[in-house]
């Protein structure tokens, strides 16, 4: 297939000019403002909530608590709309204050008197599983676990010439979408109209209906422009949506709530911190004989999707390597921390950090080149994963070849300034596509469109545009297939009233599912039009060509503009439209044998990073990142590169500076002044390479692109740091303190001779 050209995004103009409307830009007559009330301790028993004083404040319309939640406030172990008897973390809402203005609502919230008893808390998942720990749910803080067992690890370790054991930890981090979470609920004749940004509008609709005692068909969700998601705007939006909906039902007025940045930090979900213990055995020649992995994830105060996160981590924990004998067990435990939930990567960045650091440690012990050990053990066509799945369309070696070509890891860094040292590191991964067998439902999406009489194609898709360019993929596929200029194809706003539920836009599944559904829909419409014309032109429908806004047959004896062809069709058939459903090939998982076809396909990636370390301060500057990702087939090269580069910059925060800290059960990191995102001034030269090797097993041949690039960077950076200092860091992030300590050790051990500090 000819290389596709990059197409500008239809949503870009509105966003760049400020014309796009985000939820906070929307106002409705008579709208009230909702503010959440919280108890500022990690764990508390609620004795009494008294809203009398707040209600006396000018403008306050209502103070509501868990007792006022109209439907099911809480499912077991999951987040309540408002905590009823006990708060399990400092972010838990216990009441809402509804007022005429936002300021009054905030002031009112301060006047709600709460009588509570502080309970013992536990912030560390290891402590949480110990005897006598304060219990969050039911009988134990155990939340979820998964295993993957292959061969016999004991036997595998016996075979090994060398065995090493290492432990790695990853930190709590967050999405940091620039748009904070929020929603507006409007009471209507037949239910509630909810405006909210989110990646799964139908999930929001279901959750809100259940929390608020409504039928699902009584909740309609309209999605305004989205100001960033990165895996968030999920369970948080369900809670916010339910709070504004209950407020709207109880006051019969439109109700709005937008979290402040502090609230996003305090109540919002975060990435699961993992502690991972690896034991690996290998032959002298580098062949791995066995790997044993035991992991523990901090689930935080409520369950949300932690079981699925742990499952993905378990499936991918070994990294992309052929290993005969594997034992992996990863567990999640409840703590009184903020809730852990989906963040771009969904468990992959954590295990990839560990397994890819481990590969370098193993290579070092064996005296092997880090690229070589990956080539020796890496997946190839037909390799069997930890869960017994036979792999197809394996592009790992293609990624490694490209890495070798674009980022020679052994190249000596040149022009190193005095007082600095440089190092280079690499990593590679495999990552399951889309939802996988961790979820029961079929992984499917629909795309519909109507061709109007002016030739415009009006499209409906359930996949959200959250900044990734997902809508344009759909438009582009329709454009290519129908031979219609993309300017004549318009994406309709996402509204659950008329768009088909296509699942949430998660798991890098947007292009695979909706792109292929768009292809089905476009072919459906094409056939409909071709059938009409073929009859008139007395030709076979297959002979009709759709190209450059025209419909014709090869010898041009018959040729119409697309618009005329459509209008002609309207004289013969009732409608001109395309309808397409598409689902990923089936997958399955057997919980008893811990095996199955986990994901319909996997994508592969490789990364190289160069760092420059300041020996005085311990500051790590990442100077170069090459990120190679197997995307199957590229739909829009510029977008694919942007997705990769965006993932890299997000991952650099994980590697170097981002962390959510608590002290005595309270959040220390309360805003962006302490939660240190990388800025453009920290950005390295990023070479983003979307790679086209073997296509994936779907009609478009595409794979997901949005998450994998968050998974490769931190191990490559840590391997580069090790390369520079000779000292291994095993805990994310590489902050000034830990790097300086490594420098000191390095000097003490004589790796950094004279240190370069003193010329």
């Amino acid at each position: 297939m000819a290389k596709r050209k990059s197409v500008d995004r239809q949503d870009a103009y509105a966003k760049i000019t400020g014309k796009a409307k985000y939820v906070n830009d929307l106002f409705f007559p008579g709208m009230l403002y909702v503010q959440t009330v919280r108890i500022p301790v990690a764990h508390a028993r609620i004795k009494k909530i008294d809203g009398t004083e707040a209600l006396q404040l000018n403008g306050v319309v209502g103070v509501f608590t868990a007792q006022d939640v109209p439907g099911i406030n809480q499912r077991p172990k999951d987040r309540p709309v408002l905590a009823a008897h006990e708060t399990k973390y400092a972010g838990d809402g216990v009441a809402i204050v509804v007022a005429e203005t936002k300021e009054q609502a905030i002031l009112g919230a301060k006047l709600v008197r709460i009588d509570f008893e502080e309970l013992p808390y536990v912030m560390n998942p290891e402590d949480a599983l110990k005897e006598g720990a304060p219990i969050l749910h039911g009988e134990t803080n155990f939340a979820a676990s998964h295993q993957a067992i292959k061969g016999n690890v004991e036997a595998g370790f016996v075979e090994a010439d060398l065995i090493i054991e290492r432990e790695y930890t990853t930190q709590r981090a967050m999405h940091s979408a620039i748009e904070p979470d929020g929603a507006i609920a409007i009471p209507e004749a037949n239910g509630i109209l909810l405006y909210c940004p989110g990646k799964g509008p139908f999930n929001i609709k279901r959750a809100v209906a259940s929390h608020c005692g409504l039928h699902e068909n009584q909740v309609r969700v309209i999605q305004p422009a989205l100001g960033g998601v990165f895996g968030g705007k999920d369970s948080d939006i369900n809670v916010i949506g339910a709070r504004v909906t209950m407020a709207a039902m109880l006051t019969n007025r439109p109700c709005k709530m937008i979290w402040s940045r502090e609230e996003v930090l305090e109540e919002g979900t975060k990435r699961h911190p993992f502690k991972l213990h690896y034991k690996v055995g290998a032959k002298r020649d580098g062949k791995i004989t066995a790997m044993e992995i035991n992991g523990l994830a901090d689930v935080g105060a409520y369950l949300t999707k932690s079981a699925a996160t742990v499952w993905r981590a378990t499936v991918e924990a070994t990294g992309p390597y052929n290993i005969e004998n594997i034992f992996t067990r990863i567990e999640g435990a409840f703590t009184n921390n903020t809730v852990s939930d989906a963040v771009r990567g969904f468990g992959s960045p954590q295990v990839d950090f560990a397994s890819e650091s481990l590969m370098n440690e193993l290579a070092k012990e064996l005296g092997l080149d880090p690229l070589k050990i990956r080539r020796i053990n890496g997946f190839t066509e037909g390799s069997i994963t930890a869960t017994g799945q036979k792999l197809e369309c394996v592009n790992l070696m293609a990624c490694l070849d490209k890495l070798e070509e674009t980022f020679p890891v052994n190249k000596k860094p040149s022009d190193v300034p005095v007082g600095k040292v440089r190092g280079r590191g690499i990593s590679c991964i495999f990552r399951g596509e889309a939802m996988g067998a961790g979820f029961k439902e079929k992984d499917a999406a629909a795309v519909n469109f109507n061709v109007e009489k002016d030739g415009t194609i009006v499209v409906y898709s359930g996949i959200t545009e959250q900044g990734q360019g997902g809508s344009n993929v759909v438009l582009q596929i329709i454009s290519e297939t129908m031979g219609v200029n993309i300017e004549n194809i318009k994406m309709s706003p996402l509204d659950t009233a008329y768009v088909i539920d296509s699942g949430a836009t998660v798991g890098s599944r947007g292009t695979i599912t909706s792109g292929n559904a768009a292809l089905v829909a476009a072919n459906d419409a094409k056939m409909r039009i071709a059938t009409v014309l073929a009859e008139m032109w007395k030709v076979n429908p297959e002979m009709i060509i759709f190209l450059d806004n025209r419909v014709f047959i090869e010898d041009q004896t018959h040729c119409l503009s697309f618009k005329d062809a459509v209008n002609l069709c309207y004289t013969v058939i009732p409608g001109v439209y395309g309808h397409g459903w598409w689902s990923l090939p089936p997958v399955w998982w057997d919980f008893d044998s811990n095996s199955g076809e986990t994901y319909a396909s996997f994508n592969y990636g490789a990364c190289g990073a160069e760092v420059e370390i300041d020996l005085v301060s311990g500051k790590v500057e990442v100077t170069e990142v090459v990120a190679i990702h197997d995307v199957g087939r590229i739909i829009n090269e510029e977008e694919a590169k942007a997705q990769i580069a965006g993932g890299v910059s997000m991952a650099l925060g994980l590697a170097l500076s981002e962390t959510i800290a608590t002290k005595n059960g309270r959040l220390v990191t309360t805003n962006f002044d302490k939660y240190l995102l990388q800025t453009i001034m920290d950005s390295p030269n990023i070479t983003a390479i979307p790679l086209e090797a073997q296509p994936a097993n779907n009609p478009l041949g595409v794979k997901g692109v949005s998450e994998s690039s968050t998974a490769t960077v931190s191990p490559a950076v840590f391997n580069a740091i090790e390369n520079a200092l000779g000292i291994r860091l095993r805990n994310l992030p590489a902050d000034l303190e830990s790097v300086l300590a490594a420098i000191e050790t390095s000097e003490r051990l004589g790796y950094l001779k004279g240190g370069g500090i003193h010329e």
């Binding site: 007082g419 020996l615 005085v616 301060s617 311990g618 500051k619 500057e621 170097l656 500076s657 002044d673 240190l676 990388q678 800025t679 453009i680 001034m681 920290d682 902050d735 000034l736 303190e737 300086l740 300590a741 000191e744 500090i757 003193h758």
Partner: protein
């Protein structure tokens, strides 16, 4: 919310407001004030906005004296060729602040009055032996001026010697000798929008490889940016060999330990102070000596 918001055009008016509303907050760029107002429970104070007072926005060279108005922003400091020529380390310090938005709003006067130990604008001024001028007006409409060395003006973390009725109007210092070299450096957790983990300014005059004069200031090390006279005294009259610099670094770190005691941050800070001191002095020496045409 505040009761009154004053926006005087002239310094005199501002002084009168400050006399009449002593607890009023002076608003310069607001990059510290607005943040603290947001987190403070009591937000009831009046605000006197100084942003329309052009008298406070000048940068002047008069003979050997440089006078910088308190409302001069970091961006204006950076853009001043005269300052870059005469006191390049002040320009560099200004350049290291926050991000363009913060530098466009944040003022040197605000930086000084906020008195953060990590303030980036202060160490070069301390090195220069700068004075701050404080003005007030009394009931008889008589103007009073008070001048204090900046080191004496800043008392402690967040504390200055300013009186409730005073406004800091300008900062004064003499152009350093043409043979003096100057340096500023900072350690932050990232390359922009980073509060200094440690910063420092240094000014040295050498004669035939021997230190004639040195002023050495560290910020974010003790409770305020201050001159390290132990380091200075040790280095005067010496040739700056590797061993001597190492000893200077050790003296700096010992001084900090003595002042602050051991803290959780000491494991990081103390060794870094040692090597940062050495490096800053070395970089200062290498800084180009400006020669007047």
């Amino acid at each position: 919310m505040s009761n009154y918001f004053f926006q005087p055009k002239y310094l005199k008016q501002a002084l009168e407001y400050k006399r009449d509303y002593e607890v009023a907050n002076l608003l310069a760029g607001g990059t510290d004030l607005v943040i603290s107002m947001r987190s403070r429970a009591d937000q009831k104070h009046e605000i006197i906005d100084l942003s329309k007072i052009t008298e406070l926005k000048t940068i002047e060279l008069d003979g050997d004296a440089i006078c910088i108005g308190s409302m001069v922003t970091f961006t204006e400091l950076i853009d001043s060729e005269m300052l870059f020529d005469k006191v390049p380390f002040l320009s560099k310090a200004a350049q290291s602040v926050g991000a363009p938005q913060i530098r466009n709003r944040g003022t040197i006067g605000g930086n000084i009055c906020n008195a953060s130990p990590a303030a980036d604008g202060i160490p070069p001024l301390v090195c220069l032996g700068a004075q701050v001028n404080l003005q007030s007006v009394d009931e008889n409409n008589e103007i009073h001026n008070r001048t204090l060395p900046i080191e004496a003006f800043i008392l402690n973390k967040g504390k200055t010697a300013i009186k409730n009725y005073e406004i800091l109007t300008h900062i004064l210092f003499n152009v350093p000798s043409e043979t003096a070299t100057m340096g500023f450096d900072k350690i932050g957790r990232r390359n922009a929008l980073a509060i200094s983990r440690l910063n420092g300014a240094c000014m040295i005059k050498m004669e035939q490889q021997i230190v004639q004069q040195i002023r050495f200031v560290l910020g974010a090390a003790t409770s305020k940016p201050e001159r390290f006279s132990g380091v200075e005294d040790y280095l005067i009259g010496k040739e700056l060999t590797v061993l001597i610099l190492k000893e200077a670094g050790r003296l700096a770190s010992d001084y900090v330990l003595e002042k602050t005691g051991r803290r959780s941050s000491s494991n990081y800070k103390l060794p870094v102070i040692t090597s940062f001191t050495e490096e800053l002095i070395k970089k200062t020496l290498k800084a180009e000596v400006k020669v007047n045409e």
